[in-house]
């Protein structure tokens, strides 16, 4: 019979809705672009760091918004409102502790991601811009940690900021301006908390979203680098699309990181110290744990005095960051195998050992202060 349609082939309501949206926004093209990216050499756990970073950031935004419902960014109420979140708000202690540990996880994951890109030689041509934007994102993540640390307004928060701003103050030309701009007065106060809050919840998230988008765009434009060893036959045999295997690995990695952050929130939840005062009392000021190595480094005699402090706090870290920025332009060899790049491998090991040794030294140093 003419005009008869087989009911099995008729689209259901869901398919009709998808078709409707697809016709207007090109959903299927977008989906194909997102999921059908070829991954040279197949999916790997080592490629999950970037996706995990994005996942942590999204959850930081969600928990941050929930915390903002209760937090008051003023010197009179910041401490009390944080206390209120911990003790009175339903699940507030968990949200705050998750947000706190999430920020540390983000720093760890940035280090892991950058290390993976460095060791894989994935910063080399044609991925120089991906690397440069990644470095800028690294700076933003550090900025998040620095500005967020002040907000609970307890002694730890106050003095970590004092130490951080003092280090910033040593930068030539712009240091004094930066320190005065951030503090808004001789000591951290209402102006500081207002500025840090605005930077933390508005400026940095906007910057991170824009740069992360650019980072992903540039990465997709250049394509994944793939493994640094293996014959062309092996690589071709293992090459796969982004969906489903890499997505599956990313999901498992995200779930694992989520569970680790949740567990840390349980094992070591945020506990406030005394409310911030310009008198440190018995408290020994120190920055966040990921700046501890630098803090300990500055205690060495070699970095004593004005010049030494400048060298240790600004010149050396600045030179290191500059070296990272120009790395793709000075290391132009196409060799990506890290075992055939001994200088890079030794350099990476030394930097990691230096960070580890001086961080542990700073923790041991606490006993000598007491």
């Amino acid at each position: 019979m003419s005009g008869h349609q087989d009911p099995v082939n008729e689209p259901n309501v869901f398919e009709k809705v998808v078709d409707f949206v697809d016709e207007r926004v090109g959903l299927k093209t977008l989906q194909a672009k997102m999921l059908n990216e070829p991954v040279p050499g197949g999916s790997r756990w080592a490629y999950a760091f970037g996706s995990v970073l994005l996942f942590i950031f999204i959850l930081q935004v969600v928990t941050g918004i929930l915390l903002m419902f209760y937090y008051v960014p003023s010197t009179d109420h910041a401490y009390a409102s944080t206390q209120y979140i911990i003790h009175e708000v339903d699940y507030g202690w968990f949200l705050l502790s998750y947000h706190f540990w999430g920020s540390s996880a983000m720093v760890v994951m940035v280090f892991a991601h950058m290390s993976q890109v460095f060791l894989w030689g994935a910063y080399k041509k044609p991925r120089e811009l991906v690397w440069l934007v990644g470095l800028a994102l690294f700076g933003i993540v550090m900025g998040f940690g620095f500005t967020g640390y002040l907000l609970p307004w307890d002694q730890r928060a106050f003095w970590a900021t004092v130490v951080g701003v003092e280090i910033m103050d040593k930068t030539p030309l712009i240091g004094d301006f930066m320190a005065r701009f951030l503090k808004g007065g001789p000591t951290p106060g209402q102006m500081t908390i207002s500025r840090f809050f605005v930077i933390h919840v508005m400026v940095l998230p906007a910057a991170l979203m824009g740069l992360a988008g650019l980072h992903i765009f540039l990465f997709r434009k250049a394509g994944p680098a793939g493994p640094f060893r293996g014959t062309p036959e092996e690589l071709k045999a293992k090459t796969d699309y982004f969906f489903p295997r890499q997505i599956w690995k990313d999901i498992v990695a995200m779930a694992s990181v989520f569970l680790i952050i949740c567990s840390l929130a349980f094992i070591e939840p945020v506990v406030l110290l005394e409310e911030a005062t310009p008198d440190p009392g018995d408290y020994h000021p120190e920055p966040e744990w990921y700046f501890l190595f630098l803090f300990q480094l500055l205690r060495l005699k070699i970095f004593g005095g004005e010049l030494g402090q400048f060298l240790g706090s600004i010149a050396l870290p600045g030179a290191f960051m500059a070296l990272l920025a120009v790395l793709p332009f000075i290391d132009t060899s196409p060799e990506r195998n890290i075992f055939k790049r001994p200088a890079s491998l030794i350099g990476w090991i030394l930097v990691m050992l230096m960070i580890l040794v001086f961080t542990v030294s700073a923790i041991i140093n606490r006993d000598f202060l007491d």
Partner: protein, 286 residues
């Protein structure tokens, strides 16, 4: 392939394959206020880890054997290899811990003696330098011994795995065929069933999580208790409000009438002031 490399190639992915599932167990134990690193929690975690490890080891070892050594192991390899690894590790790991404890104690005492000798004989080392120097002095030999012992452990695991390799049958075919083969190990035969079960487990875990999660902090501050000064809430009963308002109005009316009786003409002398006017604010002290 060396035994150390083979051991590491199988152990590393096995550890990470089981890790996320074990993390779920750890987290659920934590939400239920059971520490997974002691007593019942540790026993539960270790017990539940056995089937996870058997599965993960079977999957990862089979993949390594196919990909790197082009051999197909017999069925049930996961359980057999796990049992052998477990017996070896039960003997080896306590020995590793014992040797490491001794090495660490020896290295620390030797470091302290050396630094003490230097300070007595030559110069006083500043605190920050001394901390880092001591740390490097005792961790360097300890780390070398630890790496050597871990390599020994991997050698043992690799030796046990080599026995499985020898008992396996070689696989013919192209590299592409082998890739398909180990890839197929990871893909469930009934995918909709797998996805449904996965989603179902996810939903159960989320419900368990929110059900077990304490509403307010289980970790109050050590030094002080949070005191929330709540305002005393007054209950407003409209009838009572109207009654009290009527009383106030009646009192005001009576007062006005009394005032009118006292001064019917409404004249005010300089000395006589209304009660309200009498309550002038006092000048503030300077």
């Amino acid at each position: 392939m060396s035994n150390v490399k083979l051991g590491l190639l199988v152990f590393w992915p096995t550890f990470w394959t089981g890790f996320p599932i074990k993390m779920v167990i750890v987290f659920l134990l934590l939400t239920a206020h059971i520490h997974p690193w002691e007593g019942t929690g540790l026993a539960a975690l270790l017990l539940l880890s056995i089937p996870i490890d058997i599965w993960a080891l079977g999957l990862c070892a089979r993949t390594v054997l196919l990909e790197r050594l082009s051999v197909e192991p017999s069925k049930g390899m996961g359980l057999r290899l796990w049992a052998q690894w477990a017996v070896f590790s039960v003997v080896y790991l306590p020995m590793l811990v014992f040797v490491m404890g001794g090495t660490k104690a020896l290295a620390i005492s030797a470091t302290e003696a050396t630094v003490h000798f230097v300070e007595e004989s030559f110069m006083v080392i500043p605190v920050a330098e001394k901390i880092t120097l001591e740390l490097l002095m005792w961790t360097t030999p300890t780390t070398i011994v630890l790496i050597a012992l871990l390599a020994g452990w991997m050698f043992g695991l690799g030796t046990l795995t080599q026995r499985v390799v020898r008992a396996s049958t070689p696989v013919s075919g192209s590299f592409q065929d082998m890739v398909y083969k180990w890839d197929a190990l990871r893909i469930p035969k009934d995918q909709p069933l797998f996805l449904t079960a996965f989603t179902g487990v996810g939903v159960v875990l989320v419900v368990l999580f929110w059900g077990l999660l304490p509403v307010s902090t289980p970790h109050p501050h050590e030094d002080y208790e949070f005191i929330d000064v709540k305002k005393v809430e007054r209950k407003i009963v409209p009838k009572d409000v109207i009654k009290s308002a009527e009383k106030v109005l009646a009192r005001a009316e009576a007062t006005i009438k009394e005032l009118e009786k006292e001064n019917p003409t409404g004249d005010k002398t300089k000395d006589e002031k209304t009660p309200a006017a009498k309550e002038e604010p006092k000048p503030s002290p300077k």
